[in-house]
Amino acid sequence: MSDEKEKKVIIETGDAGKGTSELAEGANTDELEERALSVFSSERNEDITALVFCLITTFFVLLFTKWMV
């Protein structure tokens, strides 16, 4: 019975995700696969960090190529 409950599926995550991973059948494999291929634990954190880095970069680019020239 318990075997049935904990059916596993194998997902391909490539070398970057260290080959394949075994997960519970009911798991959201797309979401888990994406997290396995990212250093961030959630997509929200990944997006916000990217946004903040870019805004800082844009600020400095504007500073050195427009405002201070």
Binding site: D15, A16, L37, L51, C54, L62, V69
Partner: protein, 542 residues
């Protein structure tokens, strides 16, 4: 000791980067850089290699003595460091050596093939980066020390997508003819929805369908890269989409001019058709030139339609983000679709697009940072030697074969020493700009006619006209710098994503993307062919 051994590759890469930076500093590599045309990036090469090399050595030394932990520095810097350095080294090799070499080889092969492989196959850092990643992962495999670093790829790619927003401006779209906006808008949205419907019909994954719809609808490779994280496309799906778009575009590039001639299209009609039906900018230009190398109008119209199509990217990103949120969400309320599921990084893309449209980076009517400025400026004038050359050629009657409009434009260039509007209208910016741009178009026509050997001009005269045209084409330094950041982010992200494409992943995607791409591409090309023949006469340029 074993921990030190694990970090030897990173230490080695860091050391090599520093040695390379020092060699660049001595100037020994300058002749080779000039041959590769990378000498302008000499300072960047030196600075970047020394900084990355220094950080790599310092990080590897810390990793060698420190127990691995779970702090932010460990997770985001120390653990992925090996992979980050490896990808950066690959990105540098591609940007500074492989891409210029491919360009040189492509130019050498051009007389033989009749077209440049580099442009037509889009063999730039985007495609080369993905190929390098795929090659590494499917041959030697990703080295153990680099595994964690490869996981930064998607994050860095998202930063590139945000930066991409700076290159477009709404003002440019508003400035384009209403006709081309409606026509292209209809076909862009039509193709996107057709691919989404085909995906549903063939039961393809939403991520695959989403990324292919943007690629087939908008502008090929950049649209694919921008939309991939929005619809959470897998690396192999991105690669499939780019492959489908480029191969379909190559076929169109050869077939379009033949069909255009057979159907008796005029230059404006063909320009409109090529700009709507072909996806890659370089392929659009190649098809327009193959159809008519003499009349600059074909290329101009094709470019207008191509630019209109590319400028639809922000709209399509919004449409697909909403579609993907709606498709993957359970509730269909506005909050769940637009707020909860909407990718936050796309807000950054839209923010930069907004800033660019508001003119924060350059005059708002720019396209990819380039804009035309025909206002009076000492730096926009031709040189004294060029002015003497043009005056002498005019006196000698060298311009007698020109059309009256072309002749007037050359006379005015000699009179004002630069391409500009009428002096009397200098306070009416709109009228002044319009006349100045019209004169520039006439001068471009002179060069095209000379190139097609319809008239004979000395190389000095051609050089002077070319320089005058170049002088009014300005580039925004801010957008050029932001684009440089975007290029490095994309190069890093795409090499990393390439490393996630295994043979198995490619097989899993199957042949459906190609089938869907071909159906959508042919439908779009055929429909736009009839619509253009029916609707477009000569009104687009007005």
């Amino acid at each position: 000791m074993s921990r030190v051994k694990d970090h030897v590759p990173v230490l080695l890469m860091g050391g090599l980067l520093i040695v390379y930076g020092l060699i660049v500093q001595t100037g020994i590599l300058l002749p080779m850089m000039k041959y590769l045309q990378t000498h302008k990036s000499m300072d960047l090469q030196m600075t970047l290699t020394l900084i990355v090399g220094g950080i790599a050595i310092a990080g590897a030394l810390v990793n060698s003595v420190k127990e691995p932990g779970n702090s932010i520095i460990d997770r985001f810097f120390l653990q992925p460091l090996g992979g980050i350095v490896l990808i950066l080294v690959m990105a540098m090799a591609i940007r500074w050596y492989l891409e210029p070499l491919v360009e040189i080889m492509s130019e050498a092969l051009q007389p033989l093939l009749g077209f440049g492989i580099y442009k037509v196959l889009n063999l730039n850092y985007v495609v080369l980066g993905i190929l390098a990643g795929v090659l590494l992962t499917n041959t030697w495999g990703i080295p153990k020390f680099a595994e964690a670093g490869v996981k930064c790829a998607r994050f860095v790619l998202k930063m590139g997508v945000i930066m991409l927003g700076a290159r477009y401006s709404f003002a440019e779209l508003a400035k384009l003819g209403v006709y081309s906006v409606w026509l292209v808008g209809f076909f862009v949205l039509g193709t996107v929805f057709l691919v989404l419907w085909l995906g549903n019909l063939f039961k393809q994954p939403k991520s695959m369908t989403g990324v292919l719809s943007a690629g087939m609808g908008v502008c090929g490779v950049s649209a694919t890269v921008a939309v991939a994280p929005v619809v959470k496309a897998k690396s192999a799906e991105m690669a499939y989409t780019i492959g489908t778009i480029l191969s379909f575009g190559i076929i169109c590039m050869f077939v379009f001019p033949t069909i255009g001639h057979m159907a008796g299209m005029n230059p404006v009609q063909f320009g409109a058709w090529a700009g709507t039906g072909i996806l890659n900018s370089a392929q659009v230009a190649a098809a327009a030139l193959a159809f008519n190398a003499v009349d600059i109008k074909t290329l101009k119209v094709a470019e207008i339609f191509n630019i209109t199509r590319v400028l639809f990217l922000p709209i399509i990103v919004l449409v697909l983000a909403t579609w993907f949120g709606k498709e993957s969400g359970h509730k269909l309320s506005f909050k769940s679709v637009v707020i909860d599921k909407f990718p936050i990084f796309i807000l950054g893309f839209l923010l930069l697009f907004g800033m660019s449209s508001a003119g924060m980076f350059s005059p708002p009517s720019h396209y990819k940072g380039k804009y035309i400025d025909v206002s009076y400026n000492d730096r926009t004038q031709v040189t004294n030697e060029e002015w003497v050359t043009l005056s002498k050629a005019m006196a000698a009657g060298e311009f007698s074969a020109l059309t009256p409009e072309q002749l007037a434009a050359v006379k005015n260039l000699i009179e004002q020493r630069q391409i500009a509007g009428n002096y009397a209208e200098r306070n009416d910016k709109k009228a002044f700009d319009k006349v100045g741009r019209a004169r520039m178009t006439e001068l471009e026509g002179v060069l095209a006619a000379a190139k097609a050997k319809e008239l004979t001009l000395s190389s000095d005269v051609k050089g002077a006209i070319k320089h005058a045209i170049k002088q009014v084409h300005k580039k925004s330094k801010t957008i050029v710098t932001l684009t440089d950041f975007m290029i490095w982010f994309f190069a890093f992200g795409l090499i990393g994503l390439g490393m996630q494409i295994t043979k198995k992943a490619i097989t899993q995607a199957g042949g459906w993307p190609i089938v869907m791409g071909v159906i959508a591409g042919i439908t779009k090309a055929a429909l736009s062919f009839f619509v253009v023949l029916w609707l477009v006469k000569d009104v687009v340029l007005n």
